[in-house]
Symmetry: C2
Subunit: 120 residues, 2 copies
């Protein structure tokens, strides 16, 4: 749907507290690398790297404005992630009712099939 949402990259990106904080910061509006770096006592380079990770995960996009390269949030990936989780929760409830008390969610709409994966 969002085309190629890389769940590996997206989840991975959010697995880091610094990155999560940056994302939350960006939720308030675009920011330059320097601005993003400020609260973290990390080098600019480190922050730049984090930004790269977030960008490759599709969570942020970069602009170019004079010498500055402000970053701004990129919604779809976030939406995609949320969707995956919600969708997953739906799958959980379907055919495995015991869980609806755990997840406290609504009844399953339809069956589906799913298959494995090859890794690394």
């Amino acid at each position: 749907m969002t085309a190629t949402l890389d769940l590996d990259a997206a989840f991975g990106a959010l697995a880091d507290p610094t990155r999560r904080a940056m994302v939350q910061r960006l939720a308030r509006g675009p920011a330059t690398v320097g601005e993003l770096a400020e609260p973290f006592d990390l080098t600019l380079q480190a922050v730049s790297k984090h930004l790269t990770v977030l960008t490759r995960a599709g969570l942020v996009e970069r602009d170019r404005e004079a010498q500055r390269r402000p970053a701004r949030l990129c919604g779809p990936a976030l939406a995609g992630l949320t969707e995956w989780l919600l969708d997953f929760r739906t799958h959980v409830t379907e055919g495995y009712e015991r869980l609806d008390e755990l997840l406290a969610h609504d009844p399953p709409p339809s069956p589906s099939a799913q298959r494995s994966r090859r890794s690394r």
Copy 2:
């Protein structure tokens, strides 16, 4: 609430495709390590490790049933994750309207006060 939901661990756990697949598999019901390992051509040990990761992330719980140690999904962490994402999206929309087109979501219901987080 879910007390200490470790976002680092939880997002991190889901950042791996094998682990995600295992979680999806578990969504259909508890499974032993062997059963979980089967589709992946990995050693049992590797799968066992993944299970440990998932367990530490609070995503699964282990039982003990003779020599078997079946794993089953543990809803709250999943729910917590989803909540974080949804909550975050809410933060995004509030006070930064440009994003509602990005996130393609519903209009913000009301202003509210909710503020950041400290990490690391």
